[in-house]
C-alpha cells in the first residue's frame, strides 16, 4: 500500500510547444477514433437481435405448476396447509404466504385460498384451493427475496423483461397469467435453471457462451467459459 500523487506536472506533463503548434493532441485523439472506424460493430440490433438473459436473471415472476419435478417434501407441505392435493398441471402454490412475508413491499401480493364446496363425504372435504393470486409488479423491486422464501419453488423469476403497459392495471398479473409465464419459461429454459428436484444447481453457467448477440457486445471477442476454479483445469 502506498500513496501515488497525480496531477499536472506530477504524472502528466503539460503540453509542449511542439504539441501545441502541430495540434498533436488532436492528432493523437483522432487516430484513436479513426481506428474505431474500422472495428466491427458492437451494438446489438434490438429488437431484431436479442441478448439472452443470464440464467440467474430476475425478470417477471411466474407461478410454477405441478409437473413431477417437485421437491421431496412437497406432499408434506400440501398436507400441512390443508390444500387439495394438486393434479398434474395445477399450481404448486399452497397459499402459505411466505413470499408475501419475505417481501419488502407486501402490498404487491393478494393471496387467497378458499375452502372447497364439496359434500362431507368427499375426500376433499375441508381442504382449500388457491382462489386468488395477484401481483402488482409496478411496486416490485425484483430483489428475489420472495422466490427464495417459497417452500415449494412455486414462485420463480423468469427471463421476461418486457413489462410495458399503458395503464397501471396492466402490471397486475393474476394467477393464470403468472402460471402461463412460468410454463413458457420452464419449457424454454427450465433445464438450464432447475434440476429434476427443482433445486437450483451449482454448476449453472454464468451465461450461455454460444450467444452471438452477447459476443457482439463483448467486442466480438467473448470470454471462453472454462471451469470456474484453477484446480479443475
Amino acid at each position: 500500500m502506498g500513496i501515488k500523487k497525480v496531477g499536472l506536472n506530477r504524472n502528466v506533463q503539460p503540453q509542449t510547444l511542439t504539441e501545441k503548434i502541430f495540434f498533436l493532441d488532436f492528432m493523437k485523439g483522432l487516430k484513436t477514433t479513426i481506428k474505431h472506424l474500422f472495428r466491427k460493430v458492437i451494438t446489438v440490433d434490438f429488437p431484431f437481435e436479442l441478448v439472452e438473459p443470464a440464467p440467474r436473471f430476475r425478470g417477471v415472476h411466474g407461478l410454477r405448476n405441478v409437473d413431477g419435478t417437485e421437491k421431496e417434501d412437497f406432499d408434506a407441505w400440501v398436507k400441512k396447509l390443508k390444500i387439495k392435493p394438486p393434479e398434474m398441471g395445477e399450481t404448486r402454490c399452497i397459499a402459505c404466504k411466505f413470499c408475501q412475508a419475505a417481501c419488502p413491499v407486501p402490498e404487491i401480493f393478494i393471496i387467497k385460498a378458499e375452502k372447497l364446496d364439496v359434500p362431507e363425504d368427499h375426500p376433499h372435504h375441508g381442504l382449500k384451493v388457491l382462489s386468488q393470486f395477484d401481483m402488482d409488479l409496478s411496486k416490485c423491486m425484483f430483489c428475489g427475496l420472495c422466490t427464495l422464501a417459497c417452500p415449494t419453488v412455486c414462485i420463480i423469476h423468469t427471463d421476461v423483461y418486457d413489462l410495458s403497459s399503458y395503464t397501471r392495471r396492466g402490471w397486475v398479473l393474476n394467477k393464470e397469467t403468472l402460471s402461463k409465464i412460468a410454463d413458457d419459461f420452464i419449457a424454454r429454459r427450465g433445464k438450464e435453471k432447475y434440476d429434476e428436484k427443482s433445486h437450483w444447481p451449482d454448476w449453472q453457467k454464468i451465461w450461455d457462451d454460444s450467444d452471438t448477440a452477447r459476443a457482439k457486445a463483448w467486442d466480438n471477442n467473448p470470454p471462453k467459459l472454462g471451469p470456474n476454479y484453477a484446480d479443475q483445469q
Binding site: K4, L8, V12, Q15, F57, F98, L145, P223, K224
Partner: protein, 582 residues
C-alpha cells in the same frame, strides 16, 4: 478494526468538562453533553484535540423522553485516524447551530429541521432541505405514519367501469407541492441580487439527475447560487425503520443506483458488526471483487457523462462499451444489472456461477489498454485542459469544514479513504495504491478517477487469484443463528426451514446497541448509523451520504465563475441524486 477515540483523550475531555457522561463501546463511543456546553465542547474537540473533520450530524426521535429529540455529531481526526461522537438532547426542540465551526453542518441541520422539526439557533437560512415550504409535517418523527397522510384527491388512472379491481388503487394521495408551493420554496432559498435568476434543472441532462439549481447571474457570471434538493426524496430512512434488516438490502441499491453493490456492502457490514457475524473468507473476497468492479463501472459512467457534458461524445460511447461488459458480469453473477441485491447478511446470496472468474479475468486483460485509449483522447487535449485545469479548486480546509470525502477529498491531497483507514472485507488483504491530487481542481479529480480505475482492476485481479483457490469454501456463514440459511439447507433440514421462517417473518433480533460504520463508495464515505432496541427492525437508521456532503461545496466554488464551469464542476463532484435525496 475500530476507529473510536481512545481512553486517554476521553479522560482529557472529562477533566476539562466534568459534567459530561462518557459511553465507551466497541462500536460506538460517544460523549453525552449538555446543550449549554455543546459549542464549547465541540470547539475544544476541533481545536485542541484535532477532531476537525465534520462527518455527520443527525437527530433521533424518542417520543417518550423529555426533551424528545437527540442530536448526534460525528467527528473525525485526520491525524489520529479516530472518530468521536457527541450526543446532546435538544431542549425546547432546538439546538445551537454549529455552522460557525463546520460549514458542512448547514445542510445536515436543515435536514434535521425538515425531518424532525428541531430548530437551530443561529442558522443562517433554516429552510426545508428536501420537502417544500409549507409542508405541515416532519416525516421522520415516530408519530408520522409510514404511508403519510392521504389527503389529496387524484382521479385514478385505473378505474374502468365494470372491472373487478384486484388491487384497489386509492384515489387519494399524500400531499404534493403546488405551483405556489414551489415558487415559495424557490424564493426562500436565495436572496436575489441581480437581474436574472437562471433555473438549471430539475430535469436537465447536465445535472445528472433531478437537482434544481438557482443561479443569480450578472452577465455570464454567477453571483449567487443555491440548490434545491428533494425531487427524488423517498424517505429511505423512514422505510428502514419498518423493515427487517434483510428486507432493507434492496433499498440500499436504490440510493446510489450507479454503485449498488458498494452500498449493499457498506450496509451489510454495519449490520454484521452489530450482530457479531464474521462472514467467511470467500464471501469477503467476492464482495471486494464485486465492489471494485462496481467502482470501475461507476467511474466509467462518470467518465462518459462528464466528457459528454464537456463536449466529447466519443468517450461516452467508448466508456459505455466497457461498462456494458461489467453490467453483463454483474447480471450473470447477481441476477440484475443495476440494482443487484446480491449481498446478504453473513455473506453473499449465491456462489459465483461457473465461468464467472474467467469472464472477469477476460475483462481485466484488456481494460488497461482501454483506459489508455480514453487518456490519449482526453488527458492532453487542449479543450479538455482549458475546461478543467484550475476550475473549482478545493483546499484542505474545505475538506474538513464541509466533510468532503471520496475522490473530492483526495483531490485536495487529503488521504481519506475508508478502504485504507478502516478496511472491511478483504481490503486489508489486497494491495493497492491510493492516488492523491495536488491542486484540487477538476483536472485532478479526472486524473484521480482514471488512476482509481487502474487500481481497481489491480484489486480485482488479486481477488480473482485468491478466489480461484477457494472452490469448496462456504460463501455464507449460515451456521450463525442470524444468517438466512442457503437454499440447499432449507431443502434438506427442518431446523433450517424454521430458522428461515423466523428470520424472514420476525427479522434478525439484533441486540441492543448502536453502530456507525462506513464504506468507501465511489462517491465518498457512505456511512450507516444503526440504533437497535433489540427488535427485528432498526429503531433509527441514518445514512451518511457522501454525495450529499460533497454537493454542498458546489455553491461556494461556483460563485464568481461562468455557467459553463458549473457543468464541469458538477460533473467532477459526481453526485448521484438517489443518494443525496435518499
Amino acid at each position: 478494526m475500530h476507529l473510536w477515540i481512545e481512553e486517554k483523550e476521553l479522560k482529557e475531555i472529562k477533566d476539562k468538562f466534568p459534567s459530561i457522561a462518557i459511553n465507551k463501546e466497541e462500536n460506538f463511543t460517544y460523549i453525552q453533553v449538555k446543550k449549554s456546553q455543546l459549542l464549547e465542547i465541540l470547539r475544544f474537540l476541533k481545536d485542541r484535540l484535532n477532531y476537525k473533520m465534520f462527518i455527520d450530524f443527525f437527530c433521533i426521535d424518542f417520543p417518550l423522553h423529555n426533551p424528545r429529540f437527540q442530536g448526534v455529531y460525528i467527528l473525525f481526526s485526520p491525524e489520529k485516524k479516530k472518530r468521536v461522537a457527541v450526543k446532546v438532547w435538544a431542549e425546547d426542540n432546538s439546538l445551537p447551530s454549529v455552522i460557525s465551526l463546520w460549514k458542512g453542518a448547514k445542510w445536515a441541520e436543515r435536514e434535521a429541521w425538515d425531518m424532525f422539526g428541531v430548530k437551530f439557533e443561529g442558522h443562517e437560512n433554516l429552510v426545508r432541505m428536501f420537502l417544500w415550504e409549507g409542508y405541515k409535517y416532519h416525516p421522520l418523527r415516530k408519530d408520522f405514519p409510514l404511508k403519510g397522510y392521504e389527503e389529496v384527491y387524484l382521479p385514478s388512472l385505473n378505474l374502468r367501469p365494470g372491472e373487478i379491481p384486484a388491487h384497489n388503487y386509492s384515489p387519494y394521495h399524500t400531499e404534493i407541492p403546488t405551483m405556489e408551493d414551489l415558487e415559495r420554496t424557490q424564493k426562500k432559498r436565495m436572496e436575489k441580487r441581480n437581474q436574472i435568476v437562471l433555473n438549471w434543472g430539475p430535469l436537465h441532462p447536465g445535472t445528472h439527475g433531478t437537482i434544481w439549481f438557482l443561479f443569480d447571474m450578472e452577465g455570464e457570471y454567477i453571483k449567487n447560487c443555491d440548490i434545491i434538493l428533494g425531487q427524488l426524496h423517498r424517505g429511505v430512512e423512514k422505510i428502514a425503520e419498518n423493515l427487517t434488516y434483510t428486507q432493507f438490502i434492496p433499498y440500499t441499491d436504490r440510493m446510489d443506483y450507479i454503485s449498488a453493490l458498494c452500498s449493499q456492502v457498506a450496509y451489510v457490514n454495519a449490520v454484521e458488526k452489530l450482530l457479531g457475524i464474521e462472514p467467511p473468507e470467500k464471501a469477503k473476497f467476492i464482495r471486494t471483487m464485486m465492489c471494485e468492479l462496481q467502482r470501475i463501472n461507476s467511474h466509467l459512467l462518470w467518465l462518459g457523462t462528464y466528457a459528454l457534458d464537456l463536449g466529447a461524445l466519443t468517450i461516452f460511447l467508448y466508456a459505455f462499451r466497457e461498462r456494458e461488459k461489467i453490467m453483463d458480469i454483474i447480471e450473470g453473477i447477481a441476477g440484475i444489472r443495476l440494482n443487484s441485491s446480491y449481498i446478504r447478511i453473513g455473506g453473499v446470496a449465491k456462489d459465483l456461477p461457473e465461468g464467472a472468474l474467467d469472464v472477469i479475468k477476460h475483462f481485466c486483460e484488456d481494460f488497461s489498454e482501454k483506459i489508455k485509449e480514453y487518456e490519449t483522447i482526453l488527458t492532453k487535449n487542449r479543450i479538455w485542459l482549458k475546461r478543467n485545469v484550475n476550475v473549482g479548486i478545493i483546499t484542505e480546509e474545505d475538506v474538513y469544514s464541509y466533510g468532503l470525502t471520496g475522490v473530492v477529498a483526495r483531490s485536495a491531497g487529503v488521504p481519506y479513504d475508508i478502504r485504507m483507514i478502516q478496511p472491511t472485507d478483504a481490503y486489508d488483504k489486497v494491495d493497492f495504491e491510493l492516488p492523491l491530487g495536488t491542486v484540487g481542481d477538476c483536472y485532478d479529480r479526472y486524473l484521480l478517477r482514471m488512476e482509481e480505475m487502474r487500481q481497481s482492476v489491480n484489486i480485482v485481479r488479486q481477488c480473482v487469484k485468491k478466489l480461484e483457490k477457494m472452490k469448496d469454501e462456504n460463501y455464507i456463514a449460515s451456521d450463525n443463528p442470524y444468517v438466512l440459511p442457503t437454499l440447499e439447507e432449507v431443502f434438506n433440514s427442518i431446523e433450517s426451514m424454521v430458522k428461515d421462517f423466523n428470520l424472514r417473518i420476525y427479522g434478525e433480533q439484533v441486540p441492543e446497541g448502536e453502530i456507525y460504520l462506513s464504506g468507501e463508495n465511489p462517491r465518498g464515505e457512505l456511512g450507516f448509523y444503526i440504533n437497535s432496541k433489540g427488535e427485528g427492525r432498526p429503531y433509527r437508521l441514518r445514512i451518511r451520504s457522501g454525495a450529499f456532503y460533497n454537493l454542498q461545496i458546489f455553491t461556494k466554488l461556483i460563485i464568481g465563475r461562468t455557467v459553463a464551469d458549473a457543468v464541469a464542476l458538477l460533473g467532477s463532484l459526481d453526485p448521484v441524486v438517489g443518494e443525496t435525496d435518499r
